[in-house]
């Protein structure tokens, strides 16, 4: 007996109804830009998923071009020619490091360097490969790189048994001491890309205000340089950071003044209620940023390492992390697989968007290299060997369509060297790499 009868909201309405933002082709002439340094712009992205993967449901059958998509990877079947699944890669650093099993995985992943075991302010890992690329492209785009996340990073305290939250909240590190905080609010990402200009003001007023801002920054730079010389060394380091940022902001304002185009999507109002909509919106923003050549580097954490998000919309009302310590229990494994599948479906949305956005003589996907996967294979054991990874995109002549079995225990850094190479950032070594893993070979 019920006193009031609930109204119908179909399941579909609850989980579907993505509010995807179209990339309007009519906007393109103003937006699409060949690389400012001449030639075709190439992009690098990382899409990170936490807590490991059910490897039995991830690993395809067969190898080389002749493989069968696994249950988890099935949503990527339409993109077979654009992707390579890579087996046997290992993160030896995480295996050796001290600290929480999740912290050392995400904390070492993209830098292939050991994260220092600490909860203090002395966090230390390494420059990540995406940031190496960002350094190279920084001069040519308005925003050097994007770090996005789809999970609130407001948690405080130590995140993983004595390891700093920095290691589980961030995967990109600007240098060995500086983790880059993820931006979780789509609205802030939008403002980061397109600035926070008030369009209701007349061009004259806007120009005057811009002039005032510039002169404030200029004078600050001068007077702060004088100030620095009177400070002690530790204070000085902080104020140097201020100066560096000041210079970068000046440069960014200069670049922004050259572009006067209207953003090709509306400013998002905040974080969408449904997780799928949220993730898709974050992918949209990355696609727009690439399309408009506002940045060429982005990393995104679908969840932070150790995530306890629940997924009731796909029949998994249990928190993710405890589920992954499944001890072989088939119900738990099934639920983790469901989450793994759901993430890959969302990633397929991103690939679809990139593939259908024209760019130069092809599509955005043709000129990108995108790493998808995580820093833990078996979440139950916190295993760092045979990581679940795939690379999408054909930037720099990458061919796709294969399940590439690397030699056993190849460091994942060897793949990063290859990816960097594909976007024109030549490096012989990276982190603990032992060579270059050529996926075309």
């Amino acid at each position: 007996m019920t006193y009031l009868t609930g109204k119908h909201i179909s399941r579909r309405a609850l989980i579907g109804g993505a509010i995807s933002l179209p990339l309007l082709d009519s906007m393109r002439p103003a937006m699409a830009a060949p690389a400012k340094g001449g030639g075709q712009a190439r992009r690098v992205a990382v899409v990170y998923v936490p807590n490991g993967i059910i490897m039995n449901d991830w690993t395809p059958k067969g190898t080389g071009a002749d493989f069968e998509f696994s249950r988890i990877l099935k949503p990527l079947a339409p993109f077979k020619s654009d992707i390579n699944i890579v087996g046997n890669l290992t993160n030896p650093v995480a295996g050796k490091a001290k600290g929480g099993g999740h912290a050392k995985a995400s904390g070492s992943f993209l830098s292939a360097s050991e994260p220092k075991y600490t909860v203090g302010s002395d966090v230390h890992a390494g420059l990540t490969f995406d940031q190496l690329a960002a350094r190279k492209f920084a001069a040519e785009t308005r925003v050097a790189s994007l770090q996005l996340g789809c999970e609130d990073s407001r948690m405080v305290g130590n995140c993983d048994t004595g390891s700093s939250c920095a290691y589980t909240n961030s995967i990109s590190w600007k240098d060995a001491d500086t983790p880059m905080m993820v931006e979780v609010n789509p609205r802030s990402v939008f403002e980061r890309l397109f600035g926070n200009i008030d369009p209701s003001l007349s061009p004259e007023v806007r120009a005057r205000r811009a002039l005032y801002r510039r002169s404030i920054l200029d004078r600050s730079l001068e007077s702060t340089q004088k100030l620095v010389s009177t400070l002690g060394p530790t204070d000085r380091r902080k104020i140097d950071e201020y100066l560096t940022s000041l210079r970068e902001v000046e440069k960014r304002i200069e670049l922004a003044e050259k572009d006067t185009e209207v953003p090709p999507l509306e400013k998002p109002s905040g974080i969408p209620f449904q997780f799928a909509d949220y993730v898709k919106l974050m992918f949209d923003l990355q696609a727009i940023a690439f399309q408009s050549d506002l940045t060429r580097v982005s990393t995104m954490m679908i969840g932070r390492e150790g995530s306890v998000r629940t997924y009731p919309e796909i029949g998994v009302p249990d928190p993710h992390h405890p589920l992954t310590h499944h001890r072989g229990h088939p119900d738990f494994i099934e639920k983790v697989t469901k989450i793994n599948c759901f993430h890959v479906e969302l990633f397929a949305y991103f690939l679809d968007k990139l593939k259908n956005t024209p760019d130069g003589d092809g599509s955005l996907l043709d000129h990108s290299t995108i790493l998808y996967g995580g820093a833990i294979s078996d979440g139950n054991q916190h295993s760092y060997v045979n990581l679940p990874l795939l690379v999408a995109g054909q930037a720099g002549g990458q061919r796709g369509g294969r399940f590439v079995m690397a030699p056993e225990k190849t460091p994942v850094a060897n793949l990063f060297v290859n990816m960097l190479d594909r976007v024109g950032v030549a490096t012989e070594t990276f982190g603990d790499s032992t060579g270059r893993l050529d996926l075309n070979a």
Binding site: G6, R154, N196, P233, I239
Partner: protein
């Protein structure tokens, strides 16, 4: 030692990376020996199965080691610690501009998260300044200054849409645990509807003072034959309006109201008044309706022609499949339109003169810069900022615009964004010296208010009086009584006890059908009010461990199962007769943040207590820890039985024997803090034993025992408050100070203000270690 320890911990074997045979240098290996002491005390070492010396022997060793540590600490000279310029963090920035300009728009809302260390986000060393953040500072300076000078930004009306949260259907004749309600219980419900499952709540931040339009879209279906429904709308628990809607099918029905709202965060609520009243008599509710029945249609099988006709006539909907019937929404959405008729003008106090000429501009800029920099400013500095006024005037802009540009420049200066403490030009490098009076004022105000010093503090600093012990004590007392000391609750306690995390918890909708924004809000309020009382009324800090009172409103009281508390406003409630008891461990906020979204975790709760209340964080677990099987909890075996099995493994036992009993003592509280006597099929067993065979039954007895550990608690709290006050991690040379302060508290009746006064008067709070000034000046020092 040699007999019992070195067998495993020697140069060759080095079990656990520990080699005791080499650790002769007691001073240099202090940390190692502290670990040894801890292991011996906890009984983890020697491990099970190894020969164990009798307890008196072990005690003799630990006593001797403790004595040595104490001797060492006493012999260590106090040290001011490494100075680091501290960047204002988000809340410090918000509060500072609020107090400087009278503008409370919290511009840092979309700033990147501040880096934290040692559990706090005000640690100078950790706080970085990225280009993204600097860009935000530039934007924020413009926004706050323009708001202060020209009044709040004129916003175009816009619409903000909130979908009502999805509620899963549970028989409303059952309580939230699925137990049938008695007829009395059916009649005893929250007449306002604010605590019922028909309510939808939204926490919304309004940008400006103005009128806003609220459009409530209803959903759901009132049974045939009922009296009209009575939807209503509240802001912060104050009813704005209610309506009568006489329809069976409520989907898409709209009611609207326009109301004036102040800028800032408010809790918006919509619900149905007297919802169980006026139902058909068959529902056994209060005041049954005596309306005539309308024709009904079947709820199974295909619709007949006649059904379709009835549907057309009465708009009745029928359930079609299982999934859909599980969703039980009484609300579709809330749309907020506005702002309209915006109010609020420029803030007073910026224009300290009225002549609108250059001398006046100069006066405004000089007084503002001095307040913003928390110190007197030099003529050179003032000239520099006044030059922006001239620049703006030259462009043809007004006097006010000129002042605005100058003030913006002040707010992006490192002298405002960082708390810079300057070394005087005398004395040898490396020596400690007192910070100057202005710097002391800033240390005080950012410690207790997370904000800039007020006029009183600056005046005392100027008069060189602030450092006088009596003045300092009086100022601390005054500052704690000031409402601005709420910052200490929010920023210090919020991070120390982590109750801020309640904002991001997502209890499982299926299991905790009652959890909503209003409960989340109420949980946070309870803890804030409780701690705020201790801070501003100079309470006893041991109340945090155990108290006989708390703060409740109807929403929270119903969640806790405490009768007789009606209405949305909070009040102090005596808990001495209630089995929950008081203190932070009876707060829904703490009980929720230390649970998983689906279930309680005695381990998480035990760990939370050890880390935050008893100053004894457990070490990390070994890799590949098997987790609990959630599906079996409450089914094949109780959670407790399962965990006891888990603890049989010696690898786990050493820590879990400390953590788990603490958590078990709180098992009467479910994962959202509601009281329970059974978990699944099993009665809750909330008994256990703390080390030393101290037995307890239930949370009240557990908390009594924890009060025995008050020394550890006070020590831990002092440690955290000291870290927060200094904005740096504590070093070994701080230990004697922390211990000394903590030891003084019992004689002071554990009063909070005494703890603060002791910290404020302590050596590192008053002193600053000199940087290597000469070398830095010559540009020779590398950081």
């Amino acid at each position: 030692m040699k007999k019992n320890c070195v067998g495993c911990h020697n140069a060759k074997v080095q079990s656990g990376d520990v080699n005791l045979s080499a650790a002769h240098n007691f001073d240099g290996d202090r940390e190692l020996w502290e670990r040894v002491t801890a292991k011996l005390k906890s009984g983890e070492m020697p491990p099970q199965g190894a020969p164990r010396p009798p307890a008196p022997e072990i005690n003799a060793v630990t006593r001797w080691l403790d004595g040595e540590f104490l001797r060492q600490d006493r012999a260590t000279k106090p040290d001011a610690g490494r100075p680091t310029a501290r960047r204002l963090n988000r809340s410090e920035y918000n509060n500072s501009v609020r107090d400087l300009l009278g503008v409370d728009i919290r511009p840092t809302e979309n700033f990147p998260q501040d880096e934290s260390a040692f559990g706090f986000d005000n640690i100078g060393e950790a706080l970085n300044l990225s280009p993204v953040l600097l860009e935000k500072y530039v934007d924020a300076a413009e926004r706050v200054v323009r708001t202060a000078i020209f009044g709040p930004e004129k916003l175009k009306p816009a619409n903000i849409h909130y979908s009502a949260p999805v509620r899963l259907n549970e028989l409303l004749t059952n309580d939230t645990k699925g137990r049938p309600l008695t007829p009395e219980q059916v009649k005893d419900y929250d007449l306002s509807g604010l605590s019922t499952r028909h309510a939808a709540h939204f926490l919304h931040r309004f940008p400006v003072d103005a009128e806003y339009n609220f459009r409530l879209v209803l959903n759901g279906h009132r049974p045939n034959q009922s009296e009209p429904v009575n939807p209503a709308f509240w802001v912060d628990g104050v009813k704005i309006k209610d309506w009568m809607v006489d329809a069976t099918d409520l989907e898409g029905q709209i009611v609207e109201v326009r109301a004036a709202v102040k800028a800032g965060e408010h809790l918006l609520s919509m619900s149905y008044l007297r919802n169980y009243h006026g139902l058909p008599a068959s529902y056994n509710g209060p005041e049954p309706s005596n309306r005539k029945a309308e024709p009904l249609i079947g709820t199974r099988g295909k619709l007949t022609e006649k059904d379709i006709e009835t549907l057309r006539k009465y708009g009745t909907k029928i359930k079609t499949d299982r999934v859909e019937t599980r969703i039980d929404n009484r609300w579709e959405s809330l749309d907020i339109g506005g702002p309209f008729n915006q109010t609020g003008g420029p803030s007073k106090g910026v224009f300290v003169c009225a002549t609108k000429d250059t001398p006046c501009a100069r006066q405004i800029v000089a007084s503002f810069a001095a307040r913003a920099f928390r110190r007197p400013v030099t003529t050179t500095e003032v000239n520099e900022f006044v030059s922006f006024y001239h620049l703006t005037r030259k462009q043809g802009d007004s006097f006010e615009e000129g002042v605005a540009t100058a003030l913006q420049a002040v707010l992006v200066s490192p002298n405002f964004l960082f708390r810079l403490e300057r070394d005087p030009l005398v004395k040898a490098a490396g020596a400690d010296q007192p910070v100057n009076q202005y710097e002391l004022a800033a240390r005080l105000s950012y410690f207790l208010w997370s904000s800039t010093p007020d006029a009183v503090l600056l005046r005392l600093a100027a008069a060189n009086q602030l450092r006088q012990p009596a003045v300092l004590t009086a100022q601390v007392q005054r500052m704690l009584k000031d409402p601005k000391s709420r910052a200490l609750v929010e920023n210090f306690a919020g991070q120390w006890l982590q109750f801020k995390n309640i904002d991001v918890m997502k209890p499982d909708l299926e299991r905790f059908k009652d959890f909503d924004e209003s409960l989340r809000y109420a949980m946070r309020r309870e803890t804030e009010l409780f701690l705020n009382n201790i801070v501003s009324q100079d309470g006893n800090v041991l109340d945090i461990l155990d108290a006989d009172y708390t703060y409740l409103n109807e929403r929270l009281a119903r969640n806790y199962g405490i009768p007789g508390i009606t209405g949305p406003e909070f009040r102090r409630v005596d808990m001495s007769k209630n089995p929950r008891g008081g203190g932070i461990l009876a707060h829904g906020s703490i009980l929720t943040i230390s649970s998983y979204s689906t279930r309680t975790s005695p381990v998480l709760r035990g760990k939370w207590i050890l880390e935050n209340l008893l100053n004894a964080p457990p070490p990390p677990p070994p890799p590949s820890v098997p987790a609990l099987d959630d599906t079996k909890v409450g089914q094949s075996a109780s959670l407790r039985q399962q965990m006891e099995a888990h603890r049989k493994s010696p690898a786990c036992a050493s820590c879990h024997s400390k953590m788990d009993p603490l958590g078990f003592g709180l098992e009467n509280f479910d994962a959202v803090g509601a009281w329970r006597d059974v978990d699944g099929k099993f009665p809750v067993d909330a008994s256990g034993a703390l080390p030393g065979n101290r037995l307890f039954h239930g949370p009240v007895e557990l908390k009594k025992l924890l009060k025995d550990d008050r020394a550890a608690f006070v020590r831990g709290m002092t440690d955290k408050l000291f870290t927060y006050a200094l904005g740096r991690g504590l070093e070994r040379y701080d230990r004697a100070l922390v211990a000394g302060i903590a030891d003084k508290l019992p004689a002071q009746n554990y009063r909070f203000s005494q703890l603060v006064v002791e910290i404020v008067k302590s050596y590192p709070f008053q002193m600053r270690r000199r940087g290597n000034l000469t070398a830095a000046r010559l540009g020779e020092t590398n950081p």
